[in-house]
């Protein structure tokens, strides 16, 4: 299955930009339309995934990767297998946003928001394709290192086991940041019965760390 970027939702972009209702000027509307088109053209979405059996003590079979934290155990409670996945928009998008930070900062923030919406779309599409592949079994929500009580340090282990850098060209910095920045890694459980969407919520959102809504004590209403 190919990584697919099918849509950059305008409303999601507006939300990421800090829009709180009221009017959107024609100029900004035009800027957003232009940036969406640029980002769609620059994106080279890629994804890698692999299925692992779970051992009784919460490790991925055949690896030294032991899942840490109560939250992931809860998520995978009904699961005997887990999918590791990673997706990225590629380095062209990174370059596009950096270039705009020099030549046009307005475009840069809009492109950045478009990029966040785009990688969410790629992940949603990938999970929909995986759900179809694994039917009639069921998938859990996506869960990433750093969510809930899973330490961000597990990111490095996930990178090693899934061979993320070689397969889709995403590298991990010493402080645990992914490059290109518009990239996502996650775990998705495979279960024999329908799964509650228990982790849809702020903690499960990739923007959790820098969400303006959350800092204001509210939320974006997406979940």
């Amino acid at each position: 299955m190919e990584a697919r970027l099918t849509e950059i939702e305008r409303n999601q972009v507006l939300q990421y930009l800090g829009y709180r209702g009221g009017g959107v000027s024609a100029e900004v509307e035009a800027d957003i339309a232009r940036c969406r088109a640029q980002l769609m053209a620059a994106a080279k979405p890629r994804a890698a995934w692999r299925l692992f059996s779970l051992t009784d003590d919460g490790a991925l079979a055949g690896t030294s990767f032991v899942l840490q934290g109560q939250d992931i155990r809860l998520l995978l409670h009904d699961c005997t297998e887990v999918i590791l996945l990673a997706a990225t928009l590629g380095s062209e998008v990174e370059r596009l946003i950096r270039r705009a930070q020099v030549s046009n900062m307005t475009d840069a923030v809009i492109l950045d928001a478009c990029g966040s919406a785009a990688i969410e779309n790629v992940c949603d599409n990938l999970c929909a394709d995986l759900a179809a592949t694994f039917a009639p079994r069921y998938l859990t929500d996506r869960f990433s290192p750093g969510y809930g009580d899973m330490p961000l340090s597990q990111q490095a282990e996930l990178f090693g086991v899934l061979d993320v850098t070689r397969r889709i060209g995403v590298s991990l910095s010493a402080s645990g940041l992914m490059l290109p920045q518009k990239s996502v890694t996650a775990l998705v459980g495979v279960a024999d019965r329908p799964q509650k969407m228990r982790h849809r919520g702020c903690a499960a959102c990739n923007l959790f760390e820098n969400c303006a809504f959350r800092k204001e004590g509210s939320n974006c209403g997406a979940f």
Binding site: M1, L17, G18, Y19, R20, G22, S25, E27, V28, D31, I32, K44, A48, W49, R50, L51, G62, T63, S64, F65, G90, S91, E92, E94, R95, I97, R98, R99, Q101, V102, S103, N104, M105, T106, A108, V109, I110, D112, L152, E157, G160, V161, D163, T165, R166, I168, G169, S171, S173, A174, S175, G176, L177, L179, P180, Q181, E209, N210, C211, K215
Partner: protein, 782 residues
């Protein structure tokens, strides 16, 4: 070698070790020391299957990947060479020191400095040579800049032959966008001994790439593909050794001489390969290589007119000189973006100015340009140290501008061009000045060509500049220049460069003369004009020439250029009813600039700043706080105000006075953090409030911030961090500034920060957004 010319490499190592019990995700290199017999056992199978070059089990044995494992890179590498040697036994098998990517993304996309990558590779290749490796193979590379660091490290510190294979996607690009022609031009220039592909895809998918690679280089070619494409669910590879071999064999007729297998291949694959390859390699005549210059992602092939943009140059440009003196890199690289947008295909880079450390500035500007522009670069300097610094920092194949007919200049600069694989511009002048006849200039051109050849450069990398003289001063010289261009093109068969703008100096309506001369010169054979691409008439002339010369097939680019030409922008008239604050509020740049010019007729620069620009920005800020407008509009307004400030800066620079500044502020995204878009927004806003911002960038070491605070003696520092993991280094940075005893104020911002936390780590202010950072600046600096 059993076969005189064909060389068989080995197959996969990692998966073989996993089959022997190595857990997925664990460091394979450890086994060189803890389980050497298991490593040797795998390699012995490959030797028995027919491998005549064994790769050591040292792919990831770099300082960064093995830190904390208990062994140094040198120990793991020595162990790796020992294992391979043991497997080779007394057979004629060469041991290749295998080196893969460092695993950290290099600048400009990542944070690993080119110089640090060089050190990491140096440590490895030196250890490999000491341990007795026969050659070095850099494989699975996707970043051409990283490869350049690696190749330089090997060539400058060892005598080992250097092979390079990179990994491409089916799109024909690597993960970071490098292309096959760029790889070929750059690596051929750097003097590697063999190039090719490994990993990435199966043999079938790599054949089209080999077919492209052989058009751009005459080096021996390597092919080491995966066993087809993996099953995503299990990671298992599908094709059989027989299919693999069958798919690989067509590469023989393309001239590939070095074969092996990557992920998913086993000794069975190598055995099948060994049996299927003919005893005698077929006679394949390789085509002559195409030539060009390139960045990692963009190649300017030398097969027609290629425009070199001249605007990154301080000569006669006050504003540019000021930017150089103030280290205002964004201003400089914006000139690069502007020229690329206008149609430049190569950028000339000249940063020479009295009082500027030219080599250091050259590196800064080259690296900054490469972060936002993907055009090939022309390093323009007369200082060999600046030229070498620039050539080292360039990612791709550059041009050096320039040498002339003087022996000492040729001897100083041509070896640098050879070493870094650059092309060179030779000016037709020497100690005696510029010859007044075309014959005299051609004679110097021939002398330069011969010198280049004797230094080992290729003929096609010598570009000749027949020199443009001002027609109003020496009228007869225009014709001499054109004759020289024609002769150098037709008789010497060399590419020519010419800075054309100079022709019209001192005449009215210069553009007529410049464009007409450019057209005649292109007709005479000029293919690398150095021009100002922002002049539409110049680019129009080039577009038209490309149609008439047949370079622009079916006039496609010409039609595109003029079909998309927008109606000329209406120039805002002074005296229009819009006020300057209105223009800023609506984010209208051209209007803001025009209205600022108008205001300067009656008010001083400082008055315009304080009574018009700043109050307008304040109003925008208030509306932002009330959520009447949101971020894009805030920045649009700041950008518009920026145009106003730019008008003021230019006026001040023209009069040679000190700039208006409300004070200096240092900004930095702290060590370990690379999310700097927020910091950059703050920079734009602060600059537009009239502050001078010293932007230290992202991932800035604690020490560097402290040094800058003391050196610049600023009263305000802004730090940003986005992640919980990097707020820690923000706290360290603050502690270090306090420990230095400097009494500057510190403001902090970033997604995970809160006012309480800011106070806890010792900051003076918490800025929740860019608007607030401007308020804080006003409170501290006035």
């Amino acid at each position: 070698m059993e076969r005189s010319e064909l060389i068989i490499l080995d197959g996969a190592m990692g998966t073989m070790l996993q089959a022997a019990g190595l857990p997925v995700g664990q460091l394979p290199e450890l086994w060189n020391i803890t389980e050497p017999e298991k490593v040797t056992a795998v390699q012995r199978q490959y030797v028995e299957a027919g491998s005549r070059v064994l790769y050591t089990n040292t792919f990831g044995a770099n300082r960064h990947k093995v830190s904390g494992c208990g062994y140094s890179p040198a120990e793991l590498i020595a162990g790796g060479v020992r294992c391979a040697r043991a497997a080779a036994g007394d057979k004629a098998v060469r041991v290749a020191l295998d080196i893969g990517p460092i695993g950290q993304l290099l600048e400009p996309l990542g944070t690993l400095r080119f110089e640090d990558a060089y050190d990491i590779f140096k440590e490895m290749v030196v250890a490999g040579e000491q341990a007795g490796a026969d050659l070095v193979i850099f494989e699975t590379m996707s970043d051409l800049y990283e490869v350049k660091a690696a190749v330089l490290a090997a060539k400058e510190n060892t005598k080992l032959p250097v092979w390079v294979t990179m990994t491409f996607e089916a799109s024909g690009r690597t993960f970071v966008g490098a292309t096959v022609p760029a790889m070929a031009l750059t690596l051929t220039g750097l003097g590697v001994d063999a190039v090719g592909f490994n990993c990435s895809l199966g043999p079938k998918e790599l054949l089209p790439m080999i077919s492209e690679l052989r058009q751009w280089t005459t080096l021996p070619l390597i092919l080491k593909p995966n066993a087809g494409l993996p099953d995503p669910a299990t990671g298992a590879y599908g094709i059989t050794p027989e299919d693999f071999t069958a798919e690989l064999l067509p590469a023989l007729s393309m001239g590939v001489k070095i074969f092996g297998g990557c992920c998913g291949t086993t000794p069975d694959f190598i055995r099948a390969l060994n049996q299927a390859l003919p005893a005698e390699p077929p006679l394949v005549k390789r085509p002559p290589a195409k030539n060009g210059v390139c960045s990692a992602t963009c190649t300017a092939a030398l097969d027609g007119v290629r425009v070199i943009g001249e605007r990154i140059n301080p000569t006669g440009k006050r504003r540019f000189q000021q930017a150089l003196r103030e280290g205002d890199i964004p201003y400089i690289i914006e000139r690069g973006i502007e020229q690329q947008d206008a149609g430049a295909e190569i950028l000339d880079v000249n940063v020479g100015l009295p009082g500027i450390n030219e080599p250091e500035m050259m590196v800064r500007v080259v690296k900054a340009l490469q972060s936002v522009v993907d055009l090939p670069l022309q390093i323009d300097s007369s200082d060999p140290a600046a030229i070498e610094a620039g050539l080292r920092a360039v990612n791709g194949k550059a041009i050096v501008n320039s040498v002339n007919g003087n022996a000492e200049v040729l001897d100083a600069i041509l070896p640098l061009c050879k070493k870094y694989g650059a092309a060179v511009v030779g000016l037709c002048m020497d100690h005696d000045g510029i010859p007044q006849t075309w014959q005299g200039r051609v004679a110097i051109a021939e002398r330069i060509l011969n010198a280049a050849l004797s230094h080992g450069m290729k003929r096609e990398d010598v570009f000749i500049d027949c020199l443009t003289l001002t027609v109003s001063a020496q009228q007869e010289q225009a014709v001499e220049t054109l004759r020289a261009v024609r002769f150098v093109t037709e008789e010497l068969g060399l590419h020519t460069v010419l800075g054309v703008s100079n022709i019209s100096f001192g005449l009215p309506a210069r553009e007529n003369i410049t464009v007409n001369f450019l057209t005649q010169a292109m007709h005479a054979g000029l293919d690398l004009p150095i021009v100002n691409p922002n002049q539409a008439a110049v680019m129009d002339a080039v577009s038209a020439f490309r149609v008439l010369s047949g370079q622009d097939r079916d006039a496609e680019r010409y039609i595109q250029r003029f079909a998309n030409a927008a109606a000329p922008e209406s120039v805002p008239q002074a005296g229009s009813r819009m006020s300057l604050p209105d223009a800023i509020m609506r984010g209208l740049k051209a209007e803001t600039a025009a209205l600022t010019r108008e205001a300067l007729e009656t008010q001083s620069e400082m008055d315009v700043v304080n009574t018009l620009l700043i109050p307008a920005l304040d109003r925008v800020g208030e509306r932002y706080e009330k959520q009447e407008i949101f971020l894009p509009q805030l920045i649009n307004a700041a950008n518009a105000a920026c145009e106003g400030f730019e008008v003021i800066k230019k006026q001040i620079a023209k009069q040679g006075r000190d700039s208006v500044s409300k004070g200096k502020i240092i900004l930095a995204t702290v060590q370990g953090d690379i999310h700097d878009i927020g910091k950059n927004i703050v920079r734009v806003v602060l600059e537009n409030y009239g502050y001078t911002v010293i932007d230290l960038g992202r991932d800035v070491p604690v020490r560097e911030v402290v040094d800058a605070v003391i050196r610049e003696d600023v009263r305000l520092v802004g730090l940003s961090a986005l992640m919980t993991t990097t707020v820690v280094s923000m706290a360290e940075t603050i502690a270090a500034i306090r420990a230095s005893g400097h009494d500057c104020k510190i403001m902090v911002g970033g997604a995970v920060l809160t006012p309480d936390y800011a106070e806890e780590i010792g900051a003076d202010f918490y800025a929740k957004d860019a608007k607030q950072s401007a308020d804080i600046a006003r409170q501290v600096l006035g």
